[in-house]
Symmetry: C2
Subunit: 257 residues, 2 copies
């Protein structure tokens, strides 16, 4: 059995706890032996109290320690561990491997997904990006990752940085455009519901076409009459600025203006 | 039976032809009696040649004429019709009802979706936005629309303009952000595949949460260290500009800066 300990109790930690427990029920080789949480109650609905600790000094011996805390707490938490030369990984897209303390063997176990509290996800479909300092540790990470996910990738810190920036564009920024669309609807007494099938299809389309080939709209076909009408319609200066810069970017096919 | 004629042979026209034919097979009240196409061959795979005409002067008598041509051809096509006082509608999101010729009764039959050639869509899930000059015509449009779709809305020209601008944000602009994400991946030897589950989940999330509540990321949590690192990473000035303006917009919650 591979003994795993999770340090943290936030969104990622909770989804990992559930994924490991589900895999355990199916008789796989993972044993989630302990979870650290500053407030035991925050995860007491997920596992037995005797498996939860609120004291880092009482962490048991394990094959893998997964630090799933906020980005700015990773370095500090890793330096507070009282053991040496064990495998300690973090789960962040934006923190380099070297942020972890030198006392232990470092690694990254980054599940690339947006986790929502109380919304179940199928962990099998979530890509897990792995990094380690040596091949043996990588094999262990790969074994653990493959038990909970069908999509496991070796991604170094430099690649992970690119991936994280790209994720900001396709997740955070895309969601903000949904919000702008929703607000334009609200301001004009149109139900946002009408746009939801379009939003779904836009995301589905690029599963079979490249985004470049999937591109449509007035900017793509240089329809200046429609673009002018839209610009005249947008009374919110911020939306107008975003409309103009993204229209230009499409017209220049993403290249520098 | 409600006799329908489609004028046009592009993406929207072809998807409507298929939807009407499928509904006909199920014994509904629609009879697609004729389609106009400048090149008969372009739609000969969809219906019998004797139902296709390439001469507007030979259009038969029908209850509803649906002009599904490019935006800038709608006015001209509607003015070339040789009959009077029949119900003639267009399918465009960005053209007002009044662009249609005064000789006939005007209407709009706007299916709000992105249509891809050779990719089937379930028309039942596509919102159809209707507008007409009088209640009787609206009833006929509603009857026809409800046969092919479960989501039928009354949307006037002013609302439709708002909807079309909003659609540009959630479809055209979102797709462009997918392209930027894809290019950042390519430039850094990371498979774009890794981001696809995130893209799917981002779209699904707002089916149960408002986009405002679904917003996450460094801009939302004012994580200036990560924002600075991302800005330093982006060597493409155009991407950097987009990153900055969308980050600011999220930080100001979409309000004017």
């Amino acid at each position: 059995m591979t003994k795993v300990i999770i340090i943290g109790s936030g969104n990622v930690a909770q989804h990992l706890i559930v994924a490991f427990q589900n895999s355990q029920k199916m008789g796989t080789e993972i044993d989630l032996i302990q979870v650290f949480s500053r407030q035991k109650e925050s995860i007491s609905h997920l596992l037995d109290l005797d498996k939860i600790t609120d004291d880092l000094a009482t962490l048991e011996e394990a094959d893998l320690y997964i630090i799933a805390v906020s980005d700015d707490a990773i370095a500090a938490v890793s330096s507070q561990l009282s053991f040496k030369n064990r495998l300690v990984v973090h789960t962040s897209g934006s923190i380099p491997l070297n942020a972890l303390d030198d006392d232990n063997r470092k690694g990254v176990f980054y599940p690339l997904q947006t986790f929502t509290k109380h919304k179940e996800v199928d962990f099998k479909t979530i890509p897990i990006c792995l990094e380690s300092e040596n091949a043996t540790d990588f094999q262990l990470l790969e074994k653990v990752a493959k038990i909970i996910s069908d999509k496991v990738f070796a991604i170094n810190s430099e690649q992970r940085k690119a991936l994280h920036v790209a994720a900001v564009f396709v997740n955070n920024f895309v969601n903000h455009l949904y919000q702008i669309g929703s607000e334009i609807c609200q301001e004009n007494q149109v139900p946002f519901e009408i746009l939801k099938p379009l939003i779904t299809e836009t995301a589905q389309k690029i599963m079979i076409l490249s985004p470049e080939k999937a591109q449509t709209g007035p900017a793509k076909r240089n329809d200046s009459a429609t673009i002018k009408a839209h610009e005249a319609f947008l009374s919110n200066e911020n939306y107008l600025k975003i409309y103009k810069i993204l229209t230009q970017s499409i017209q220049h096919n993403g290249k520098k203006l």
